[in-house]
């Protein structure tokens, strides 16, 4: 790491921090992907995780995914709550037997030394009702702070994982705040420069947090969003229906990915509607079920595609 220029060191800059993680996982044989070009609530929704976790083929990938949680907006006034933040996501299928060790080495790569920090694996069973997914694993704690989620997927999109993937999710802002020693996310040094050249997280995102909070809580057009939800749901079903082919002696699917995009869309629109407070408690459950049905149908389609099925 000494070879790195100071402004690229993970403890100095947010971007250096992300690059360090990417380099580390690239060295473990992961393909380093770029963020998916759709709004989603968590890195798990990226098809590189949700769909690629299914089926027997090997798959190792890592990527940053901007994650949108409309309800978590605080108009830029809360020191660590954001409606848009970055997750760093790693998926390895099948889960390697040294995945915990790899995770700890990745922490070392971003400047967290396990001889002075107290790193713990604390029970956390992960479940995503909208994705029809669950797994067992931990919250990873560093000195009492939850810094990552570590999950062995058992089921995704209603399909049993075979083999099981290991999934790691790092909350990048929180980890970087810890490593940089700042208490307010907007004070994070983004580019590692000082003085006039310094760009903070606030310079990049504060205005966006304020604007999107107004949008998410006050102005998002609910009539349009209800319509968008309905349209996405309908489109997903339409593409799924159109994609099935009876090829040779087995069924196959030719449009799982475009159909799944519509599922991602429906899920995000639901989150926006939820933030606007226009979905009642009872309706909420039924919306979650509707998204889950889409996710399950997409999972079923995926395992009948070239990449998703047994060789």
């Amino acid at each position: 790491m000494d070879a790195l220029p100071a402004h690229m060191r993970p403890e100095r800059s947010f971007q250096g921090f992300i690059l360090a993680l990417q380099r580390f996982w690239a060295e473990q044989g992961c393909v380093i992907l770029q963020p998916y070009d759709m709004e989603m609530g968590a890195g798990t929704f990226h098809p590189a995780t949700t769909l690629r976790a299914l089926g027997p083929k090997r798959w190792n990938a890592a990527y940053v995914q901007p994650s949108r949680r409309p309800k978590d907006g605080r108009y830029g006034e809360n020191p660590n709550r954001l409606q848009h933040y970055y997750q760093f996501q790693v998926i390895m299928k099948p889960s390697p037997s040294n995945l915990q060790d790899l995770y700890l080495k990745s922490l070392a790569a971003i400047g967290i030394d396990s001889s002075v920090h107290d790193i713990r694996f604390v029970e956390d069973d992960w479940e995503s009702p909208t994705l029809g997914a669950w797994g067992l694993g931990w919250e990873c704690w560093c000195d009492g702070m939850e810094v990552s989620q570590f999950t062995y997927f058992q089921q995704v999109a209603g399909v049993e994982c075979s083999p099981v993937s290991g999934e790691l999710t790092y909350g990048l802002e929180r980890l970087a705040m810890y490593v940089q020693g700042v208490d307010r996310v907007y004070d994070l040094n983004f580019n590692g420069r000082e003085g006039a050249e310094k760009v903070t997280y606030g310079d990049v995102f504060l205005q966006a947090e304020q604007e999107y909070s107004r949008h998410n809580f006050e102005h998002a057009d609910t009539a349009m969003l209800f319509e968008q939800f309905r349209m996405a749901e309908e489109a997903c079903r339409k593409y799924l229906a159109a994609g099935w082919r009876e090829g040779g002696n087995q069924k196959e699917h030719l449009m799982a990915l475009p159909a799944y995009d519509q599922c991602i869309k429906a899920s995000h629109v639901f989150n926006l509607l939820d933030a606007r407070g226009v979905i009642s408690v009872t309706e909420r459950q039924s919306y979650i079920m509707r998204v889950r049905e889409l996710a399950k149908a997409c999972g079923e389609a995926w395992i009948h595609t070239e990449t998703g099925r047994a060789a």
Binding site: S115, V116, D118, R120, E123, D143
Partner: protein
């Protein structure tokens, strides 16, 4: 005799599952050994976050040989039967069987089966993999490349290695040879994840435990707990504070570390403006740290104690400051919640309850609160409470459920209501009822004594009981999802501990009035009363008192004043402990037995007064006189609710009853005399019913 050492080394096992898993492992292995005829001397199991370990010592090296004779078919019996017999016994030819002659049934084949005992290590190699594969984790998972195959191993988290050795103290033990899902049992384990991660080779339990300790792993959970507790106490004491002990937290924390290191941190004193309970819940639930208090004031200090899993190179400085940052952020949130809550009056939260369903058949929370208000106002005069205050208290008692702090920490319900009510200037007893009306929560919980709290507590519980009775959601067997048994016991304790006179039938009828679904107005109150009777029995039994006496009292009918029931049961119990009581009970039982035999024979009852003209023995006259006296004196005493006096009156009956049975032949040859004597016996029974139904008493 040789010992077994077993270790299952895995990724981090959830803290809450460790103790039971250790126990399950010990039970499963030792049960199997015993079932295989291998009686052991002792066994002990341990758990850390990364391992389950078991030592079983004093197991015989071999099973004993088994000899068994099995009887087969008749000599010359059908071929199919003979073939079946050969197959079942493993004999090659029927000539290998013995023939046994039976003078009545003819000749039979007998097979002598000799089963030589197997070496214990072979038995272990067979049973251990089965135990591992069928281990009862509450939740288990698959992992890695093998998870693609069917029948792959499930474990709580990925299992990495297994130690299984068997042998004598004096010798190099043998490895029990087996493989589970690609993991071969051996002699290797690993030390602390960060401080001593290298592989360790072990032979038997003693060197296993010692080597682990050298590798910074404390195997015994109890030893970890003891260490955490005493270190935490000392850290607190050194600064002039006192640790707030917390067994649940201690158990959990001991399950999160292999090498406990207690460290003290602090937080800004400005957070002490938050109620202590909120600080404690924040630090405990979210951060799994202990809090400390000032022994002089009993108030929390701005310190906390964390348990790290590592002897850090810098003495823990970085760890403490990291934890302080997180706790600061958490306490800022808590302070924000608390201050936000204080800005809203409790009553202005209430309209929201219109939207919240309590139970789909029992309406909204708002409707339930209205019912409790009415009921509390009705109960108030009966328990000496101010009606208006009881009503106000019931009105506000649930409002804190909608506050931010209770949303975050549900276990603070009631308590926060009290603080918020005090802050908005409510009467002290009204504020206190927010917290107290949930009590008593269990047999060990305190029973509220302020009349306003008592009125609301009773109203809350009676509404719950009547409501769930009306929709027929009663507890069955071990299922009691709405904690109705606890509610009924709560009512009993509220009444008895506060010596309240509250006819429960009326109260139950009143509780039914406002319910959306009424239930059977005739049956329901009686049903509920017998549920109370059952609860009372359970409670008395738990206290070591005689529960059969509860039936003896309820059987009199019309007993819905629980305080009187309890007093009567107490007096009855004392009486039956005396000689007079025992003998009177025996006499009454004898009278009842004779009566029921004669009633059956004559197909009639012997009700009605005995005819004094037919008495011809002094004992009859004496008994009749005693009965008359006792009846009137006992009812007078019962009228005055002086049950002890009623019982001592009963004692007067005893010599007359004894003398009667001694000297008088009931079944006289003269039918009229016989009938009259049976009527007299019936009157003994009737007289004792002034205090209890003696026929329901055991013994």
């Amino acid at each position: 005799m040789p010992d077994l050492l077993l270790e299952l080394f895995s990724e981090e096992i959830p803290a809450r599952m460790q103790a039971k898993a250790a126990d399950d492992l010990r039970r499963m292995v030792t049960d199997k050994l015993v079932a295989e005829g291998l009686v052991y001397e002792g066994a002990k199991a341990f758990a850390t976050p990364r391992r389950l370990a078991l030592t079983v010592h004093g197991i015989p090296t071999r099973q004993s040989d088994l000899k068994e004779e099995r009887r087969g078919p008749r000599v010359g019996g059908p071929d199919a039967a003979i073939q079946g017999f050969l197959k079942a016994t493993g004999l090659a030819r029927i000539e290998d069987a013995k023939i046994q002659t039976d003078p009545k049934k003819g000749d039979f084949y007998i097979a002598l089966i000799e089963k030589p005992g197997r070496a214990t290590i072979d038995v272990l190699a067979e049973i251990l993999p089965v135990i591992i594969r069928t281990f009862p984790w509450p939740k288990s998972m698959r992992w890695g490349a093998r998870s693609a195959k069917s029948g792959s191993l499930s474990w709580v988290r990925p299992l990495h290695s297994i130690i299984a050795t068997f042998g004598l103290e004096t010798e190099e033990p043998d490895v029990v040879k087996f493989t589970v899902d690609g993991i071969e049992a051996g002699q290797t384990t690993f030390g602390h994840r960060f401080m001593a991660p290298a592989a360790i080779s072990v032979r038997r339990f003693e060197d296993y435990e010692a080597k682990l300790k050298a590798a910074k792993v404390v195997l015994d959970p109890q030893a970890r707990k003891d260490a955490i507790l005493s270190d935490a106490q000392q850290l607190a004491f050194a600064q002039g504070f006192e640790l707030v002990e917390d067994q649940g937290l201690l158990d959990e924390v001991a399950g999160l570390v292999e090498w406990p290191v207690a460290l003290m941190g602090s937080f800004d004193a400005e957070f002490l403006s938050i109620p202590d309970e909120v600080i404690r819940a924040t630090i405990r639930n979210n951060q799994k740290c202990f809090v400390v208090r000032d022994p002089k004031t009993g108030k929390l200090a701005n310190k906390f104690i964390l348990t790290a899993n590592i002897d850090a190179a810098d003495g823990g400085k970085v760890i403490v400051s990291g934890n302080e940052r997180v706790i600061r952020a958490r306490l800022s949130d808590a302070k924000f919640f608390y201050e936000t809550d204080l800005k809203t009056k409790l009553e202005s939260r209430l309209p929201k309850f219109d939207q919240i369903v309590f139970h789909e058949k029992l309406g909204t929370q708002a409707e339930r609160i209205k019912r409790i208000e009415r009921l509390a106002a009705e109960i108030a005069p009966l328990v000496g409470a101010d009606e208006e205050k009881a009503k106000r208290a019931a009105h506000l008692a649930k409002a804190d459920l909608l506050t931010e702090v209770v949303g975050e920490f549900p276990e603070l319900q009631g308590l926060m209501g009290k603080y918020y009510a005090q802050a908005q200037g409510e009467d002290d007893v009204v504020a206190a009822a927010s917290e107290e009306h949930y009590k008593p929560q269990g047999p060990a919980d305190r029973v509220p004594s302020d009349p306003v709290s008592v009125a609301v507590a009773l109203a809350d519980k009676l509404d719950t009981l009547a409501g769930f009775w009306a929709i027929d959601e009663k507890p069955t067997g071990s299922k009691d999802p709405y904690a109705l048994r606890r509610a009924a016991l709560g009512v009993i304790r509220l009444i008895v501990d506060n010596t309240l006179r509250l006819p429960i039938l009326n109260a139950a009828k009143s509780a039914m009035v406002g319910l959306p679904k009424k239930g059977d107005a005739q049956k329901l109150p009686d049903d509920l009363l017998s549920f109370f009777a059952d609860r009372l029995k359970v409670q008395l039994r738990d206290q070591g008192a005689r529960h059969d006496l509860v039936d003896a009292v309820f059987s009199l009918g019309g007993q819905d004043d629980l305080l009187l029931v309890v007093r009567r049961v107490e007096a009855l119990g004392k009486f039956l402990d005396s000689d007079d009581g025992k003998n009177l009970l025996a006499g009454t039982k004898r009278a009842s037995n004779i009566l029921s035999i004669e009633e059956k024979r004559d197909k009639r009852t012997f009700d009605g007064a005995a005819d004094a003209g037919l008495y011809n023995l002094p004992e009859e006259k004496a008994l009749a006189k005693a009965i008359d006296e006792v009846k009137s004196e006992a009812s007078a005493a019962v009228q005055k609710e002086d049950f002890a006096a009623a019982m001592s009156v009963m004692a007067k009956l005893r010599p007359a009853v004894d003398a009667f049975f001694d000297k008088v032949k009931v079944n006289d040859d003269e039918p009229k005399v016989r009938e009259n004597r049976l009527k007299l016996l019936n009157e003994i029974r009737a007289a004792t019913r002034a205090v209890a139904d003696f026929s329901k008493i055991e013994g």
